[in-house]
């Protein structure tokens, strides 16, 4: 596990850096990963960056930290808010043109915390110039050194050094610990549903029910969102036709969640193709977003876990 490192300890001077990474830098590295399009990585990580430019505060006062997990299967970035919220974005090893992971002996993964806000500014550093130009990215991690990201666009190079901080491993949420109801829906449809609610309210109630058509009610609702705010009560309801797939292990599950903790998952729908929503009878909500990027070979998975509010528990066991 990496320990604290000084930001001034970047292991390269501008004279040595050639943009592709000289072998003297990659020897003894725990991780060297190379990819030719930083924009793809930026668009995936953007979905878990909760504090963004629309904040009223000066950005550097609201820096966001993320847990980085390096393993043979890829690089995972996790953002947590207490024990009620977790967002995870994984960059699979197969995404990278080069992925060399050499952990210390007897360790399967390396975990540390970094400043995700600075990383995002770095990934976007060349954006806004020539939108068709590709920015190559190299990620290097060495024990005792800052997490290093190198970007190259034409003749210009950017190097980002992020201090690695000790941290606990990310929380592990288990959706299967209780019976759940699960839906697969297109992001567009879900975004429309969430567009109808009142964002001035503190929480949103999500209701997923197994629809049983009857003669009197041939198209019963299966998904309902309810908010109660200063503007009154809003409710939006959808039947089965909105969803591509359903799996209901309980006739009805309904819980309320703080709206602020749901919003990141909703915002991420803008770059999502489809999402799988799962809510279990213990009050755990999960979104699995399949993110679309410029890189079309496979979608990237971004996952959100949100824990229901305790004080407004409503559990229907029907």
């Amino acid at each position: 596990m990496s320990d604290h490192s000084a930001t001034s300890g970047v292991n390269m001077s501008s004279t040595n850096y050639s943009g592709t990474g000289t072998t003297s830098q990659v020897e003894d590295a725990n991780l060297v990963a190379k990819y030719d399009n930083a924009r793809v990585i930026a668009s995936v990580l953007q979905t878990i960056l909760l504090k963004n430019k629309s904040d009223e505060f000066k950005k550097k006062d609201t820096q966001q930290l993320a847990i980085v997990t390096l393993s043979h299967s890829g690089i995972t970035f996790t953002v947590e808010c207490g024990k009620q919220f977790q967002a995870t974005a994984q960059l699979k090893a197969s995404l990278f043109a080069t992925y060399m992971f050499n952990p210390p002996p007897n360790e399967e993964s390396i975990i540390f915390k970094i400043n995700l806000s600075i990383l995002m500014d770095c990934l976007n550093i060349f954006s806004g110039n020539n939108s068709s130009a590709y920015t190559a990215i190299t990620i290097i991690q060495r024990s005792g050194q800052p997490f290093t990201v190198l970007l190259e666009e034409n003749a210009t190079q950017t190097s980002c050094s992020l201090k690695t901080m000790n941290c606990d491993a990310p929380l592990e949420f288990d959706i299967d610990c209780a019976p759940f109801n699960r839906l697969l829906v297109s992001a567009e449809n879900l975004l429309e549903a969430f567009g109808e609610i009142d964002y001035s309210s503190q929480s949103v109630n999500i209701w997923i029910s197994n629809p049983v058509p009857t003669q009197q009610a041939p198209n019963p609702p299966m998904f309902r969102l309810t908010t109660n705010g200063s503007a009154g009560s809003f409710q939006v309801e959808y039947g089965e036709e909105l969803f591509e797939y359903k799996e209901c292990n309980k006739p009805t599950i309904t819980y309320s969640f703080p709206l602020a903790l749901i919003q990141p998952a909703i915002k991420a729908l803008a770059v999502t193709n489809k999402t799988r929503i799962t809510m279990n009878a213990a009050g755990l909500l999960n979104f699995q977003h399949f993110i679309m990027t410029e890189e079309k070979k496979f979608p990237h998975l971004v996952e959100f876990y949100i824990v229901a509010q305790q004080d407004t528990n409503e559990m229907h066991m029907g």
């Binding site: 970047v10 004279t15 970094i114 500014d121 806004g128 110039n129 950017t158 980002c160 050094s161 992020l162």
Partner: protein, 271 residues
């Protein structure tokens, strides 16, 4: 004291005004037969100064200018007024005449612009109040004189640098600019906090000032990132060259140069 002229290309003058307005609205306009200057300065030590000098023909044609001070006239002017007039001039696409006069028997001088649209005989008159400066007061405004030990280089494309530094602004208020002639990528912009740093390296070239650049020279300065970003707005002028002069311990100067026009930004340093 007399000044009247035809505005040469309102669009060009408007662009210059729009660029320097971002620094400050109060400005000294100094017109002479050969050169016209816009001077933005202040008493405080830690503020930026901008000295813009152009050959008068770029801004004014058929110029008639006469004064007791070597036919130079200097006046304090509000740039947003000037911008408004020039924007009207650009929209109307006709002739814009300008003259310095006192209105209606009062002693207050105005710069009066008359915009005429030839096809429809449309007249627009706009008066900008100005304060004419005496030769004595004018002599107090002197372009900063800097020590000779400095490092000069050509800036990379300002728009590119602007995009990069805009992102760096989110991380810190202070931007470090480092030049090291020893390196292949000699110019480095960087920001740093306790949790991370970002450095961007550029290839640069150097102006030949008669002496070849010594091989192992370096200079590092720190500037206020927002002030630096304001200078980069000058990319809109599409300069031929932008020369950056680093005076360690003193100042950072950017000369944005086009034919017969130079905008010079003098930035204070942070220590």
């Amino acid at each position: 004291m007399r000044f009247n002229a035809k505005v040469a290309t309102a669009k060009r003058l408007l662009k210059v005004v729009q660029i320097i307005m971002k620094i400050k609205n109060d400005c000294i306009l100094h017109i002479a037969p050969d050169a016209t200057k816009f001077i933005i300065t202040s008493d405080a030590n830690d503020t930026m100064q901008v000295w813009t000098e152009a050959k008068t023909y770029l801004f004014f044609e058929e110029t008639v200018i006469a004064s007791l001070n070597h036919n130079m006239i200097a006046m304090q002017i509000q740039l947003h007024h000037l911008k408004q007039v020039l924007q009207s001039a650009v929209n109307v696409n006709g002739d814009t005449l300008v003259r310095l006069r006192k209105k209606d028997g009062s002693n207050v001088p105005f710069l009066t612009f008359t915009i005429t649209q030839s096809s429809r005989s449309l007249f627009l008159t706009q008066d900008i109040p100005v304060v004419v400066l005496s030769a004595q007061i004018l002599s107090g405004f002197v372009e900063p004189v800097l020590p000779t030990n400095n490092l000069n280089f050509f800036m990379p494309a300002l728009k590119h640098v602007q995009n990069v530094v805009e992102k760096m602004k989110n991380i810190s208020d202070h931007l470090t600019i480092e030049v090291n002639t020893n390196s292949t990528q000699a110019l480095c912009f960087s920001v740093e906090t306790g949790t991370g740093s970002i450095k961007t390296f550029y290839d640069i070239s150097y102006p030949e000032l008669g002496n070849p650049i010594p091989p192992d020279v370096s200079a590092t300065v720190k500037v206020d990132i927002k002030k630096f970003l304001k200078t980069l707005q000058s990319h809109q002028i599409e300069a031929n060259h932008v020369v950056c002069c680093v005076y360690e311990g003193s100042s950072l100067v950017l000369h944005v140069m086009q034919r017969d026009l130079t905008i010079s930004y003098y930035l204070p340093l942070i220590y």
